[in-house]
């Protein structure tokens, strides 16, 4: 179905960015800039909700809402349009991006108050919304890549917002360059997709006269590739899936490309909340779920995704235990939660992955904004060792962050419990088709459960260090008193203005009730898993044989009732019991984690954590030694001193010397005597005549 107001979702923030950049910089009125920025995102959100929930909207039918804006590239049978498509998956994404984005914009108006680059910040933030929504709503891989690069650019601009600080500039460059490695894989994946399928589109659009199949539907009737390491290099679905995953690992901060995300905390806190927690870093998950049709045909790639996801989840959680910067804790927590999402994708649980993306967007945005509120109230202090006892001073921030804390720890009722529990259960009961042995799913589950425990521990540590215990900020201030350039006025922490607390409250409510969209059948015995039913038609099922799959999904047309019945049929009583038991186990894990964290840190909030963890396993140092220093040394000694100075400069210098030498010889002919010149002309003419006389005139 064509609906042209779909393009308003992406172009409203673009217009906001343009207005703020060109007019806002002259007006320099914070109210004007704030209204433009928030208003443009609000327009996006309203349009997104309208298109999703109107009659015949994207979330109410299985036909996507399409908007063909213009034909962008057409070469031979390669065709990439500037066209948007909102189906159930991209619609879900667009909803939470615009909504959470709007709340963060409002928060940022309060947080960035008084900054010199106010207009620049909001122009970039709006540009980010444009890019992110382009990424999500793109109708083909190539336009998705445009959005993909756009969010990378905005991430770079916003991490480096405080560009006069070297730390921020370095972090921005690190994020950009690390993402380039991932983009390399993504571009190759797109090329290979076109090479294999002859199309880069996601949605069939007969009106525009495209190929009979899309890049994704091509795979629907293909056989599942063999489950061998060799399939990675075979140039089929597995190769595409692995290359796409490299792109996802860069954008979504997975091992080994995660190093940029903790450093990205050098940007303002609303940026961390919007880009580096709620939306951009989940783009990799979106891309994999969008390409689930490819991934379910590539068991090897699925296994790689699952292992990398599980490893990242555990690895980042252990680092998160030992960080002292409140934003660094949340950054490692984000990496860890993203690992969860990839673990879910890897075991074929695409819908729980998306579910976790949404709940994570709520509670992690809440936690980041809460930390921003703390930082704001503490006069730009980020070190938790200089906090403590803040719950008395910042009651609203405290109360909202408690809900975020309970949600991420996986306490029941709160949003994180349902999504995390769903992922753990689906990992436990993963279909065997992408696993080396049946027991491997239990191993992955154990890693997930251990991560859940550690998550509860480090989040409790963060809350305890920040909000409970002795008030340490005064000591810190006294010791810092000698610093001449310290802010004047009261050191007392203060609660943030309503512009900041209202988004916190809204997000706290969502973190509490947001999980109710995905209550599993096992816990309610009723069929109220909204997210599952919404996304089921657009996500491929792992392990289904192509024939059976084709039977359930005749030509992409879904019979909702049939799907639901099929889902019911899978609910055997043993499975339900197992799922309920596991849910109980994960509640236990969450409570144990919180208890352990409370026990360890309540009395000793400044407990020294293992140095290895505090120094992040020395991964940055290892990368420096293994990659960056060799490249630097190679550039300096090889490229600069040998190639540039030796070969290139040497070539130019020797050309110059040859010309000089020839000139020196030719100078003898220029004695200045006219008769000499005449003699030279004569000799030349005689030689010429001699040559012609000897060889004969050509053509005669």
């Amino acid at each position: 179905m064509e609906n042209n107001i779909l393009s308003l979702i992406i172009f409203a923030p673009l217009a906001g960015a343009a207005i703020n950049w060109f007019i806002g910089r002259r007006v320099r009125d914070e109210r004007f800039i704030g209204i433009v920025a928030c208003g443009s995102v609000a327009i996006s959100a309203v349009v997104a909700f309208y298109l999703a929930f109107m009659s015949g909207g994207a979330l109410r039918t299985t036909t996507p809402v399409l908007d063909h804006i213009w034909t962008w590239l057409q070469v031979g049978n390669f065709r990439a349009d500037f066209a948007l498509g909102m189906d159930r998956l991209s619609g879900t994404y667009a909803l939470f991006i615009t909504f959470v984005g709007f709340l963060i914009h409002v928060f940022a108006v309060g947080y960035m108050h008084g900054e010199a680059g106010f207009y620049r910040f909001f122009a970039c933030l709006n540009l980010f919304m444009f890019s992110m929504l382009t990424l999500v709503l793109a109708d083909n891989f190539v336009l998705m890549f445009v959005g993909w690069e756009g969010v990378g650019l905005c991430s770079y601009l916003l991490i480096g917002y405080y560009f006069d600080k070297k730390e921020a500039g370095d972090a921005a460059k690190k994020a950009f360059i690390t993402n380039r490695i991932g983009d390399w894989g993504f571009v190759l994946g797109i090329m290979l997709t076109f090479f294999v399928t002859g199309s880069v589109s996601f949605f069939a659009n007969p009106a525009a006269g495209e190929a009979a199949h899309t890049a994704l539907s091509f795979f629907r009737n293909q056989p599942v590739e063999t489950f061998t390491a060799g399939a990675i290099f075979a140039g089929g679905a597995t190769s595409i899936a692995v290359l796409l995953f490299i792109g996802a690992a860069g954008k979504s901060a997975q091992i080994p490309l995660y190093v940029w995300l903790p450093d990205a905390m050098a940007g303002p806190t609303p940026v961390s909340a919007l880009i580096h927690a709620a939306t951009m870093v989940t783009a990799g998950v979106y891309m994999i779920v969008r390409c689930s049709e490819i991934f379910v045909h590539a068991p090897t790639a699925m296994l790689i995704v699952a292992i990398i996801g599980a490893a990242t989840a555990l690895f980042a959680a252990t680092i998160g235990l030992a960080q002292n910067d409140i934003k660094k804790v949340l950054a490692y927590s984000t990496i860890s939660q993203l690992g969860y999402m990839f673990l879910a994708c890897g075991v074929g649980a695409f819908i729980p992955a998306i579910f976790h993306v949404i709940t994570h967007a709520f509670f992690k945005a809440l936690l980041f904004l809460g930390s921003g509120s703390v930082i704001h109230g503490m006069h730009h202090e980020q070190d938790m060792r200089r906090m403590g006892g803040l719950k008395k001073y910042m009651p609203i921030t405290f109360a909202t962050m408690v809900t975020g804390w309970l949600a991420i720890s996986g306490v029941p009722i709160f949003a994180g419990f349902f999504s995390k529990d769903e992922i753990l259960w689906r990992t436990w009961s993963a279909p065997a088709f992408s696993l080396p042995s049946p027991g491997f799913s239990k191993f992955l589950w154990a890693i997930g459960a251990l991560t859940a425990f550690l998550t509860a521990v480090y989040m409790t540590r963060m809350m305890v260090m920040t909000f409970w215990g002795k008030e340490r900020f005064r000591d810190a201030h006294d010791s810092k008193h000698q610093e001449p350039d310290h802010h004047h006025g009261s050191v007392e922490p203060h609660e943030s203005p309503w512009l900041m607390t209202v988004p916190l409250i809204v997000l706290a409510v969502l973190s509490t009730v947001g999980g109710f969209i995905g209550i599993p059948y096992a816990l309610s015995s009723r069929d109220i898993n909204v997210i599952e039913h919404t996304l089921e038609p657009v996500v491929a099922t792992a392990g289904a044989s192509p024939v059976a799959h084709a039977a359930v999904v005749p030509e992409g047309e879904h019979d909702a009732a049939a799907v639901t019945e099929a889902a019911h049929a899978t609910h055997s009583s043993e499975e339900l019991n197992a799922e309920r038991t596991l849910a109980g186990v994960s509640v236990l894990i969450a409570l144990l984690g919180i208890g352990a964290g409370w026990y360890m840190f309540q009395k000793r909030p400044l407990l020294q954590m293992p140095r290895l963890l505090e120094n992040k396993y020395y991964v940055d140092e290892a990368y420096d030694a293994a990659l960056i220093h060799p490249i630097e040394a190679g550039s300096r000694e090889g490229l600069w001193k040998i190639i540039d100075m030796g070969v290139i400069d040497g070539l130019l210098h020797s050309i110059g010397e040859v010309v000089q030498e020839m000139g020196r010889l030719a100078r003898y002919m220029q004695a200045g005597f006219v008769r000499g010149y005449a003699a030279i002309i004569l000799v030349g003419a005689l030689i010429l005549i001699g040559v012609f006389a000897y060889l004969g005139f050509p053509g005669v």
Partner: protein
């Protein structure tokens, strides 16, 4: 005996050689100048001889062009010679070897 084409060509070659030799061995600018004119006219003679031999008027047309160019060249050349003489009080080309007046 009718004059043959080769006679004209021989005469022209002799005149041309005299001109070349003059340009190379003479030091006086005026004399060199005259030798150049001699070479031009030797070539003119060849043109006319061939035009007559081939019964083709093009050669004669070419002579007019050469004479025109020679006249222009004479005007410029004499001007330069006068300038040199005014500056140096001499017409010896070997003294005018420093690329400026």
């Amino acid at each position: 005996m009718e004059p043959q084409l080769s006679w004209y060509l021989a005469l022209s070659a002799i005149l041309f050689t005299i001109g070349v030799t003059g340009v190379i061995i003479k030091r006086n600018v005026i004399a060199m100048f005259m030798c150049i004119e001699l070479m031009l006219n030797a070539v003119n003679l060849t043109f006319v001889a061939f035009a007559s031999f081939f019964q083709d008027v093009t050669g004669q047309l070419f002579v007019f062009i050469v004479m025109t160019v020679a006249a222009a060249e004479a005007a410029v050349g004499l001007g330069i010679i006068i300038a040199i003489f005014r500056n140096r009080e001499s017409l010896d080309v070997d003294e005018a070897s420093i690329l400026k007046l």
